[in-house]
Structure formats: C-alpha cells, structure tokens
C-alpha cells in the first residue's frame, strides 16, 4: 500500500494535465523500454507527424491524419453512400460491440474515415439507440497510445510473419498427436464465426483443451437455469411489461447484461404524463447501494449471503399467497438471521397481485441455487413467457470457472505444452487461489493475444496484438439472439489482428482474412442466390432482421433445486465484526479492469460514491462507528483512513468510504484496479482486489477480518468535496435544500397535490410577484424570444437512473479533456454535464436520487452581465453561447453561475493548444476529437452548448432542403445516449414539439426558479411508488 501511495503521488503529477501528457514521464519510458526498444525515443518525445508515421508504419498515414482511409472491403454507410465522401460531412456506419455474452448495436460517426463518436443503434435490441458509458468510451480505447503495436517474443520486438512461421512449426507437431498438450483459454463470446472456428479447432485438435473464463459474467445465471431446467438458457426480461419488480441484488439497470433495454423498459414503466397514470413498483434487496437500488421504491439492505434466505422466504410467502413455488420441499429458511417478514409479505402480495406482470430477477453475483429458485418463482407467478422470455443460447462460449480450474491443474501437472490465451488478462484477474501465474510458468509455449502488452503478456513467450472491434471484422449475437456483423471503421491502426483471424490461423495453419471468415460463416444465414445484396443490407442495417432466437418453455426440476438449496441454506452465517462479508463487484469505471487505461472512464465518478480514479472499501456508518472510523476530511479533501482486509490468508490495504445504505458488516470492493501493466493511465490506479478473490466465492463471502491502519490516502470525489456529511452545519443545510433542488413526491402525494413541483418555492413573497407568463417579475422588459427556433431542454428526474452515460457521451462529443486525479481532488473536473447525487433520509436507509445538471441556458443568464469582454452572450435562438476565442479568463461568469456548470481550463488540459510553452500530445489522441467542436485552450471558460454544432448541421441540412428543422432532428449527445430517454431537447417556439408539450406537464419545474434567471432547461419532478402496505415508505 505504501508503494501504492507512492504510485499515486507520482500519478498525481502524471495525470494533472491530461491523459496524453505523460509521454515523457519516467514511468512511461520504463514501459516503452520494455515494450518497444526500437522506437522508444520517438514515443517519449512530442510526436511530430513525421516520426509518428515512421513509428506507426506508413500504412497509418491515412488513418485519420490524412483522412479518407476506409478498409478495402466494402462497408456500407448508415445514412450516406460511401461513394460520396464530402470532406467535413460526417458519415455513420452501423456495427456492434461484443460485450460478454451479449452485444450492443452501434452507429459510429466517422470523419473522413476516422471514427470519432459511438452511439447506440436504434434498431438493435441491445442498445435501442442508446449507449452506456462503456460503449461511449470504447472510441477512446481505439486510439489508446498504449495499445501494443508489435508482436513480442520474450518481450522483444518480433513480427507477425515470425509468429506465423513459429506457429506453423507448432501446428505441424500438434496436428500429429491431435493437439495433446495444446490448450486455449478464451474469453466468453457469442459469435457464429468464432463458434464455427472453435468447433473446427477442436475438430482439428480433438485432444486439445478449451477453457473459457470471464472474471465477471452471468455464469451463475446459466448454471442456475441449467440446475432448474437442465437446459442452457438466456433469460430476456421485458421490464416494460412489468408492474412489480423484485430485484435480489441484481443491478439490472446498470451493470447487468443488457442493461440498456432493461433501463429503457423500466423507465417506460414509470414514465407517466398525468397524476391519473400508474407506474411500476421496484423492490430491491442488496448489500451495496447500486444504481438499481437508488431507483427502488423499497430497498432492503442485507448481506449478499442472506439474499438466498430472503429469496426462500419470499418463495414461501408466494406459496402462502397461492402462487405455489416448486423446489422448496424440505428446505427451511435458516433460523437466527433476521428477515423483514412484513416486507416479504408485502412484496409477495404485490407480486401475486401482479401475476404475469411481475419480474423477480437475481443478480449474477448470487449463486446458481438462487437463480434456480428465482426461476421457479417466476414460473409460479406465470411471469415466464410474458415478462421473462427464455431463449436457447447459440454460437456461444460461456464462461466456466471449473474449466479454468481444470486447465490450471493440467498446467501445473505440465500436461499443457502450449497455451493460447485468446483475449483476457488471466495473470491479473484469475482467482487468486488458482495462482495462475505460477501455473503459466510450467507452459513451454504461451501465446497471449490481447490489445495491450499487459500483466499476462509479460509472462508469455509470445504476445500478439489484438485489434479493436472498431477496426476488425466479426459477428455477434445480442441477448435475444439477433445477429449483427461487426464491421471495421478503419484498418487496424497498429496492424493488429482480430481473434477470428488468429483463431483461423491456429486452426488451419494458414492466414485467412477476417472478412473472408465472416462471409463464409454468413453463407449459412444468407441465401447464396442474392448473398451480395443481403450482405450489403446486413452491413447497412447493422443487423440481420428477424434473427432473434425462438423462445423455449423449459421444464422445471423441483427436486434438483430443493437439493441444492438445502446445502446452500446450511452455509448461511451471521456476519459480524469478527466475521465480515466481503463483496466484489465490477467497477463502474474499469469494469473488470479492461478499461483501466481509459481516461474518460477513470475520471468518470462512481454513480453512487462519486469517487473517481480509485476504488474504495465501502462500509456502512454503523460498521464504521464500531471500527472507530470516519471520513477523513482535511482542507476539503478526503484523506481516507486505510483498512487492512484479511481474507483466507491473503490481505490488501484499502482506503475506506462510508457508504450510506451499505449493509452492516459488509465490505464492498470494486474489481478492476491496481493494474501494473495497463498503460500510462491505468497503472497503479487503485488497489488490485483480485488478490483476495477466490474461485469458490467470486462475488461475496464471509470470513473477512479487517484492521484499521494509521495511514490515510487521498480520495478524489467530485461531489461533497471533503465528505460534507461529516460536518453537521453543512449536512443539515443540504438536507434542508435537497427537497427544493431535487423535487420528489410519492405517487400518492402527487395525486393529492398535482402541482407540488411548481408550488415548491424557497423565497417568501415570491409567489405573489409573477408577471403574465407566470415567471417572476423583472424590472426590465424581457427580450422577446418568440421568433425562429427557441431551444430548450426537459430532463425527467423520474426516468434518470444516474448511469453517467450522458457525461461520457458529452465528453466524447465535445472534446472535453481528462484532468487527472490531482485536479479532481482540487475540484477542477471538466465534465459539462454532471450527475448530482442527493441522499435523503437516514444514513442507514437513505433514499438516493440523481439530477443531471448542465448549463441551463438561462434567458437572464447571470454569467453574461459580469463578463467584461462580452465573451458569453445570448444568441437569437436563446442559447447562452460561450465565445472561447474572446474569453480572457476572469472566471467571473463561473462565480456568478448559480448552477456552477461552467468549467475553466486552469491549466493546459489540452496540450499544445495555447501555442507556446507547452508540449504537444501524441498525435493519435487527436484522432478521437470531434472536428466540429473547438478544442479549448488554457485559460478559457467552457460549458455545455446544447451541442450547438449539431444544431447548425441540422440547420444546414434543413436549409439545403428548404424547410424548417423538424422536431427531433436536433438531438444533443446526452439525449441521444440516455438509456432511459430522460432528456428531451427541441424548439420551445413550436407548441407541437415534444419538449414544448413535456414542459406543459404539472411536474415541470425550473431549478432555482426564484432567482428569475429563467433557465431553458427544466426538470420533471421525481416520483416514487411506495407500497401502501408498508409503513414509512422509503420515499418522503
């Protein structure tokens, strides 16, 4: 940990300008020396175009520097035909992003052949036009300067041909004895081509071993369903059809598979227009506060290990209510653990009432037994087939921990002579008890295929660069089975190869282009007759219509469930100080560690804790009190006390974070930090919690002991800087203000008082002082905004789940720099749209709500009058425009902004922009920038522009066709990516526009309306739908 402190210290200096500022820090040079001895020097100097090219290879010349470089194979633009590339006019292509055992359809914006922006594919069942943070940030990974650029042999630069010839030798040998001693360790995938190649590989090498491992996956769900039904099934949830939802520690809105369609469906079930409408009700039982938990109408906190007991209790209650659940015969709820019986009763009653229109969903971290029981419950409630559809799984390699264990055994017993690691980073994320590193040393020829030369590559004989999904051919199935072709947006920037290409090389010993392999596979799906035509259509649409797999209606095997449950219930224990529960969960920023080198994601605060650039050990206030720990506030920064976590003979030291709503005696830690070879961004960020994680209890387990250390560690949090909750004066004021800032009511209260949102005012006598349009009176006559377009925005707080997707989308669209931990510690993060998170209620059972805040584009903008040089003024369409090149940088506007949405370039966050004194950034990182948006220089103020560049391109398009801009034609980046469609943007001057109509709703209110700044952005008050049967509902 001390070493970590040191890392962070230097990390501070490293990060404080921008992700690409580090090109010449010793740390990076060290990495370079290891990886590219040949070209180290170029990499460490500000990169001129010339040596950049020589470095990246001449083929890169067109990658985006010179523009227009599309792969030689035909790929079909989504809107514009490829023949007509108009420089400056963006083209959009459809593709798909493989993720675990599902896929998200994408529409990628490219400028002159250079992909710059990723968005959801409206027609794709996995993305529905929206994109979550990982999808948005994947574009930055494409241009990660730390991606490996050459084949490495024993860490020294080699080449693809060398590798190919080396493999041919091995191939000849293994073919002879049917692949004995040959093994493949792959990540999970759902891809017809990969599946075909896998089958062919195993046919070519019958005695070869193939293991599939994912550190975070739905393995338990598949196991559970197999346990209950004997079949391998993919559950597909239809939350839009559900009236009552019970989540058993499932974060289905955020980290769950297919979170976008889940979030969309869930919010559709809550999107109500008037007080007459009804909305769904969500019960959540979880150990750690999740995004889903914050959306709950009733949230129950309990240790992860007690969820099974709760599930069983619910099942019993359901049976009692008449929905007979199979698979509980002879299994009893373990005595001695306290369960909220009233709560359980209410939930059961609700679920039974909503028979056929309810969902019970368990999180992937829950053991298979729970999923089996949940299956039985849904079946008993007749939800199966209506709100939950089970589909067979095709073309998939599903993760399996026991396969990995078996593989490791073989490796240890030297039965594996050659191991091909197809993606993934097992040396970093494999369960600690398997000790993969040691096992790997027994393998003669280890081949690691990955995008980065990472922890695993270091231990392998060969490292082969893997191409990004945006630069390679492939195919993939969505959760419902829908087929998509993954088509490249550019040729591999670093000449890397796709897993398809590698696998076909492994299988056949000869090189086959990914394009050919994929087309070969698709001859199965497309009729030979008009293959070319259909192929082009698939590429154009981004998916194969009606390729979803059929629903199946499996049989339930009650006995098997009961048997398994018995064993599980026996193991349930009571956590306490001497027997704490450790909970592992994927990080909101780095997921399982794969995004560790992505600056956008590292700087993206955790939705609940608002901590960026680190992982922390979450504990409840009660537990903290008993451990005599408290948030460490000093000079407005969190210097958090350190805790030593001891679990099964292993230990790590981590800073604590007191998390309201955390289950007592549980410690939740995020995976995916503490990387050692991630790259200039990810190295040494946070603590590697895989060090504690075992194959037997991958998600939670008791038996954790903690000891407090007399060290502190600085944690960068973008909200409540300095843990305001520790200061009574502040926390009382926040508690008093929050209800007026983020207005909320229960459905009941809303029906009683439909105008609660607009009537809720702060200043006395304010209500009397209104002019004809209902706005507060002004001593000046307001300027008329009744002509042309008048842009405005509405944000539905009832839909917003606080998932941060908008923040990253905005960062990608508007070239917003990453500033690094040091600057975030000082409160200088640059995000144009932030998600304010407010706690309400007790510290143990709080209610969390989110509020996205960007520039409100006030008509009486206070920022404008104070600018001495008129660098921020109003345009005739009501935008509060910021004139970067006029800005002197007095910061007066930011001071005078009541919403504090203005961001200042305190330092050269975009290297090279001030034109003097500062070093340049690696060219490659400039490729990710949106050419339609100015890159701001040091000393300049910036803020949300309502995506003015999109407005003007829409205006140009409309002018060309001699028409008005249509409603919905201008879509802001945040609106476009929002999984719940909480944000609506449009022309207020058109009474028929969606935004104008939404603003008529009685839940509509303006933030800080009493200041009479007349914001153009307004909010729809939040609603909760507590169960009347339960006293003190969570929501006020």
């Amino acid at each position: 940990m001390s070493s970590m402190n040191h890392d962070q210290g230097s990390a501070g200096d490293k990060y404080w300008r921008s992700l690409d500022h580090l090109a010449d820090t010793p740390e990076f040079q060290a990495i370079v020396q290891r990886e590219f001895p040949e070209h180290a020097s170029e990499m460490t100097h500000p990169i001129t175009r010339r040596n950049f090219l020589s470095l990246m290879g001449a083929s890169l010349a067109f990658a985006g520097l010179a523009g227009c470089r599309r792969p030689v194979e035909k790929i079909i633009p989504y809107v514009v035909k490829p023949e007509e590339i108009v420089p400056g006019v963006a083209q959009r292509f459809a593709t798909a992003m493989p993720f675990g055992t599902t896929a998200y359809g994408l529409v990628v914006t490219t400028h002159e052949g250079r992909p710059t922006k990723v968005d959801g594919h409206p027609g794709h069942p996995g993305s529905l036009g929206a994109a979550h943070a990982f999808m948005q940030a994947s574009i930055l990974d494409l241009y990660d300067p730390d991606r490996s650029k050459t084949v490495l042999k024993e860490g020294k630069e080699s080449s693809w041909p060398d590798f190919v010839s080396a493999w041919r030798d091995l191939y000849a040998a293994y073919i002879k004895d049917q692949g004995a001693g040959l093994a493949v360790l792959s990540g999970s995938f759902v891809s017809p081509t990969l599946a075909r190649l896998k089958a062919e590989f195993l046919k070519a090498f019958p005695r070869a071993r193939w293991a599939t491992y994912e550190p975070v996956s739905d393995e338990n769900i598949y196991e559970g369903l197999r346990l209950a039904t004997g079949a391998t099934l993919q559950p597909v949830y239809r939350y839009d059809r559900a009236n009552v939802i019970l989540s058993l520690e499932s974060d289905f809105l955020y980290t769950g598979t297919d979170s976008i369609s889940a979030a969309r469906g869930f919010s559709d079930g809550r999107r109500i227009k008037t007080e007459q409408d009804s909305m769904n009700r969500l019960y959540v039982a979880e150990s750690t506060f999740t995004v889903t938990g914050s959306a709950a109408d009733h949230r129950l906190r309990l240790p992860g290990s007690h969820v099974a007991a709760l599930a069983l209790a619910v099942a019993r209650a359901l049976t009692a209510e008449g929905a007979v659940v199979e698979g509980m015969s002879g299994v009893d709820v373990p005595s001695g653990i306290a369960l909220e019986h009233e709560w359980i009763q209410a939930v059961a009653r609700d679920l039974v009432r909503a028979r056929g229109a309810g969902i019970i969903v368990a999180g992937y971290q829950q053991p298979p037994e729970v999923h089996a029981l949940v299956y039985a419950m849904n079946r008993a409630l007749q939800n199966e087939g209506s709100t939950i559809i089970y589909r067979e799984i095709k073309d998939a390699a599903l993760p399996n921990r026991s396969d990995l264990a078996a593989l490791v055994n073989d490796m240890n017993s030297a039965n594996v002579t050659s191991l091909v690691i197809l993606g993934g980073n097992p040396a970093y994320d494999a369960p600690a008890d398997l000790n993969f590193e040691a096992a790997l040393s027994n393998v003669r020829t280890a081949i690691h295929f990955s995008t980065h030369a990472d922890e695993t590559s270091r231990l392998c004989l060969w490292h082969v660069p893997q191409s990004h999904f945006l630069e390679s051919w492939g195919d993939v199935r969505a959760a419902d089975g829908t087929l998509s072709v993954v088509q490249p947006m550019v040729d591999p920037l670093f000449g890397a190869h796709s897993s398809i290409e590698l696998l076909s090389l492994l299988t056949t010993g000869t090189e086959v282009s990914g394009y050919e392999s994929v087309r070969a596979t698709w001859s199965l799906y497309l009729k030979a007759a008009n293959f070319e035509h259909d192929w082009r259509r698939v590429l154009h649409d981004g998916l194969l219509a009606d390729s979803a797999l059929p629903a199946v209606s499996p049989k339930v095997n009650g006995a098997a469930i009961a048997g398994a449950l018995k064993a599980l219930m026996a193991a349930v224990s009571l956590p306490g100080l001497d027997n704490m529960e450790i909970v592992f969960r994927p990080s909101a920023s780095t997921f399982d560690g794969r995004y560790a080198n992505n600056g956008w994601l590292q700087e993206l605060p955790d939705p609940i804790t608002k901590v960026a650039w680190d992982n922390v050990a979450l504990i409840s206030a009660t537990t903290a009190k008993e451990l005599k720990l408290s948030q460490g506030l000093r000079d407005g920064q969190n210097h958090q006390p350190m805790l030593r976590l001891q679990y099964q003979g292993r230990e790590i030291d981590m800073p604590i974070w007191i998390q309201p709503g955390q289950a007592d005696y549980t410690v939740t830690v995020a995976l995916g930090y503490g990387r050692r070879a991630a790259g200039r961004i990810g190295d040494g960020v946070g603590v590697n919690t895989y060090a504690l994680r075992t194959s037997t209890a991958p998600y939670f387990d008791g038996g954790l002991r903690v000891a407090r250390l007399d060290r502190t560690y600085p944690i960068a949090s973008v909200q409540d800087h300095g843990g305001l909750e520790t200061e009574t004066l502040a926390s009382n004021e926040i508690a008093r203000r929050a209800p007026t800032v983020l207005r909320e009511a229960s459905l009941e209260q809303y029906r009683k008082n439909p105008d609660f949102a607009s009537n809720d005012v702060v200043l006395p006598g304010f209500k009397g002082l209104k002019d004809k349009d209902g706005k507060p009176v002004s001593i000046y006559d307001a300027h008329a905004y009744d002509k042309g377009y008048q842009w405005g925005m509405s944000i539905d707080l009832n839909a917003c789940i606080g998932c941060n997707a908008c923040t990253v989308a905005c960062q990608s669209e508007n070239n917003i720099p990453v500033v690094g931990k040091e600057q975030v510690l000082m409160g200088r993060e640059m995000h144009w749209i932030r998600l304010d998170r407010y706690y309400k209620g007790s510290v143990d059972e709080p209610d969390v709500a989110f509020q996205p805040v960007a520039c409100q584009h006030c008509e009486n903008a206070p920022c404008e009058q104070v600018c001495p040089v008129a660098a921020t003024v109003h345009d005739k369409e009501g935008l509060n425009v910021m004139v970067y090149n006029r800005c002197v940088g007095t910061r007066y506007c930011a001071n005078n902004c009541p919403y504090k949405v203005r961001r200042f370039n305190f330092l050269e966050f975009n290297p090279g922009t001030s034109g003097f004194m500062q070093e340049d950034s690696p060219e490659i990182l400039k490729l990710v920038r949106n050419p339609d948006v100015t890159v701001r220089m040091r000393g300049v103020m910036e803020k949300c522009t309502y995506c003015v560049q999109r407005i003007s391109s829409a205006r140009i398009a409309a002018k060309k066709e001699g028409r008005e801009i249509r409603d919905g034609e201008v879509v802001t980046a945040c609106q476009q990516t929002c999984p719940t469609q909480a944000i609506v943007f449009g022309n207020l001057n058109d009474p028929e526009s969606r935004v104008a109509r939404i603003k008529q709703a009685n839940r509509d209110y303006e933030l800080l309306a009493e200041l009479n700044v007349r914001p153009r952005t307004s909010y729809l008050a939040r609603l909760r739908n507590p169960n009347p049967d339960l006293e003190q509902p969570v929501a006020g």
Binding site: P764, V888, M917
Partner: protein, 450 residues
C-alpha cells in the same frame, strides 16, 4: 484645532526646506539599506511567482470551481483599500481645510500610488489569458468586438485606472514647488538639469501660484467623489452578483469605510517608521498620529456596524441562502478567518478610547498592523463565501497554494521597494505646504519676524 501648533520647535522656512531636502540630498541611513534589501527580495519573489504563473497557468493557485477567485482578488481589494487613505488625506482633508494634513499628505499620496500599483497588478495577472487583457479597453479591433460596459470588472478597469492616473497627477502637482527648491539647492549640473526639467521651470510667482492653487483645488475636488466611487465600484464586483453573501446593497458604503480604515492604518504604520528613521518627530507630531487614531476608531466602528447589519439583514430578508451564507461565514469551515476579522477590525480599535493608548507609539504601531491584518481577512471572508452557494452538489473548500502566498508576500515587496525609493529620492513632506501653515506665513502678522 488651529490653536495647537502643527509644527514643533517653531522652525524657520529655511530650516524646513533644509530638514526635508537633505534627506534626498544626503546618503540614506544604514537602516534604509537594510529595509531596501528586504523589500527588493520580496519583489524578486513576486517576479518569480508571476513568471511561473504566466508559464504554467492560473492552475498553480488554489482557485477551483466554485471558488473562481482566490487570494488574487483578496489582495486586489486589500491594496485598493489601502490606497484610499492617501487620497482622503490629500483631497478631502484639503477641502475641509484640515491644515494638519500637510505633514503627512505627501507620503500618504505616495502610499496611495504604490498601493494602487500593487492592486492593479492582481486583476492583471489573475486572468486565464494574460496576453489578451487589453480587450478590456474599448478600442476598435479586428474582431469588431466591444467590451461589455455592464460588467463590474470593466467598471473596475475604468475606476481604478482613473484613480491611479488622478492620484499620480495630484501627487506630481503637489511636488512641483519642492522639486523646484531641490533644483535651486542643487550643487551638480546633472541634478540642476534633472530637477530643472521635473520642476517645469517653477519660479514661485503668484501668477503661477494662482493657477497652481486652482488646479490643486480642482484635483482635490475631483479626487473626493472619485475616491468614494472607486471602492464603491470595487464592491460592486460582489454586490452586483447574484450570490448569497455577495448580493447586498450595504457593500459600497461599508467598503469605503473599510478602505479608509485600512488606509489610515497603513499611513500610521509608515508614518511611525518614517518619522523615526528620518527624525521627523517635529513635523509629524503626536497630534497628527492621534488624529489618525481617532479616524481609525470611527471607521473601525463603521465596519463593525456593517458586519452586524449584514447579519441582521440576512436574517430579516428571510432568504434561506443568504442566512446560510452568513451562518457559514461565522461557524462554517472558515470560522477562523471570520473571527480574526472581527477581533482585528472591531475589538482592536476600541483601545483608542484611551488617550494614553492612542498616544503611545508602540500601541499605535501594533494596532495599525493588526487592523491591516483584519482588513485582509475581511476580504478573504467575502471571497470564500463562494465556496458554498446555491447547489450543495458543487460546494467546495478553497485552500491557497504556496504560489498564492508567494504572490501575496511579493506584492508587499513591490510596495515597500517603491516606497523606500520614494523616501530616498523625493521630498517625503510637502515643504511648501508646511511653510504655508507656519505662523510667520500669515501676511497679516505684521510683527511676523523670526
């Protein structure tokens, strides 16, 4: 007031000129060199701090969001405030025919000019893009852009700029007769030429005196509303914002009172030092010091009243944000600065009720220093009100970095370097005016022989 002799040991016209001019003509005392070394070291520190600032960007300071202004603006307001006493003494007391001012107005005015130089520096360097600050000026340019005359910062630009120019002119006009006497006393050709040019060929004829006195009167008349307006305008940087704790009408009068308060404290500090080093006790008498002490006590009570009034209005307005802003000032994370301010500005001046204390040099000196500390804290308290405004989500805590402090200390280096150069090369007391208040200067005292 005129009963008490303004100048001790009934000197002659010649002895006055001798005493004042020899300071400039002879080598300065050792102590001057020591002081000058210290001051120029501070100036060097300032140069380093500012160079690094321009090189690296304002991010080297502690400023952040939402505290967009930090020590730079605190120091700006602080120094502008210091300046005011000088103008007050030279202009307002002149109009009020307060003849005792003649002993102190010269270096009070010098102090004004140097303080305003320090003040002007801060808004200049605190902006993000120093190289385009000239955009403040309404000059036609290639961008066809004009400044925004609604912005209090632009008002500052005009007001403080004017204030500096007028103070400089006022000071120079006052200097002309004294430079003339240096010219006439000059032994070397070079001095004759330099002083000859600077004195514009002054011959002390009444036909010159009548225009001279009229000009002086007009300058005084113009400076008086100006000095009152300048700090009022500076206060509008805060008063015209919409922020709780800033948006208040009491600021202008209370800033002016505070300015005079701190200004007199600074004059006191300097006067005590100067009269000691240069043995001017007979010209800058206890009578002058005592008068200044009385003014400090009055203005001190004015700001004290303002502090309490702010609190009352915050409560009385019923504005929840305003209320919290003030409670937070006193009991929030910055309580220490608030109570240092109260102690130095409200408690300390009360000692001047006692004649014994307000006539004791050490007490006056200590008090004057404390008061300036307090006035600095007043500005700090106002600035950090930014830390907690409307939306709790954006609340922050501002802590200055070492570079903030270097710049602040450096500004004192600049100030004292200039002031010591002034003591060395310019008559520190307005000899002609002092002569004018000697008894024998009255043409109707026919027995007026010395």
């Amino acid at each position: 007031m005129d009963e008490a002799p303004l100048i001790m040991g009934n000197p002659t016209f010649a002895s006055i000129t001798q005493q004042i001019s020899e300071v400039v003509e002879n080598k300065p005392p050792k102590s001057w060199y020591g002081a000058f070394a210290a001051a120029s070291a501070g100036l060097l520190l300032l140069l380093i701090a500012v160079s690094y600032l321009i090189w690296e960007g304002t991010g080297i300071w502690g400023i952040t969001s939402p505290v967009g202004w930090g020590l730079a603006i605190v120091n700006f307001v602080f120094w502008v405030g210091i300046g005011h006493a000088g103008t007050l003494i030279s202009a307002i007391l002149f109009l009020l025919r307060q003849r005792w001012r003649t002993s102190i107005n010269r270096f009070a005015e010098a102090m004004t000019i140097f303080a305003v130089i320090c003040a002007l520096m801060f808004p200049g360097i605190h902006v993000g893009r120093i190289w385009v600050t000239y955009w403040f000026a309404p000059v036609p340019n290639q961008m066809n852009m004009w400044p925004n005359f609604r912005s209090p910062l632009l008002w500052d630009f005009f007001a403080v700029g004017t204030y500096f120019t007028v103070s400089l002119l006022f000071w120079y006009v006052g200097l002309i007769p004294d430079i003339a006497s240096l010219r006439d006393r000059a032994k070397t050709r070079s001095k004759q030429i330099v002083y000859g040019i600077l004195s514009l060929g002054w011959s002390g004829g009444n036909k010159q005196w009548r225009h001279y006195e009229m000009a002086y009167l007009i300058l005084a008349g113009l400076s008086t509303p100006l000095v009152l307006s300048v700090h009022s305008i500076v206060s509008t940087d805060f008063a015209t914002s919409i922020l709780p704790g800033w948006h208040t009408t009491i600021f202008p009068p209370y800033f002016v009172a505070g300015a005079i308060f701190s200004g007199f404290a600074m004059v006191m500090t300097l006067a005590v030092i100067a009269r000691k080093i240069y043995k001017m006790e007979n010209i800058i008498t206890m009578y002058h010091l005592e008068n200044m002490a009385k003014i400090m006590m009055v203005t001190g009570m004015m700001v004290g009243y303002a502090y309490s009034c702010e609190f009352f209005i915050a409560w009385y307005s019923g504005n929840v944000y305003e209320r919290f802003a003030f409670i937070n000032r006193a009991f929030g994370p910055y309580w220490w600065s608030y109570f240092s301010m109260i102690f130095c500005n409200v408690v300390v001046p009360q000692i001047f009720w006692s004649r014994k204390l307000r006539t004791s040099i050490p007490v006056l000196f200590a008090a004057s220093i404390l008061i300036n500390v307090g006035m600095w804290f007043e500005r700090f308290v106002i600035i950090v009100t930014l830390a907690r405004d409307y939306l709790p989500s954006s609340w922050e805590y501002y802590s200055p970095t070492v570079w903030d402090w270097f710049t602040f200390i450096g500004s004192f280096g600049l100030f004292f370097t200039l002031f010591l150069l002034f003591l060395r090369y310019v008559p520190m007391i307005a000899a002609a005016e002092v002569k004018g208040v000697l008894p024998q200067a009255d043409p109707h005292r026919h027995n007026g022989k010395h």
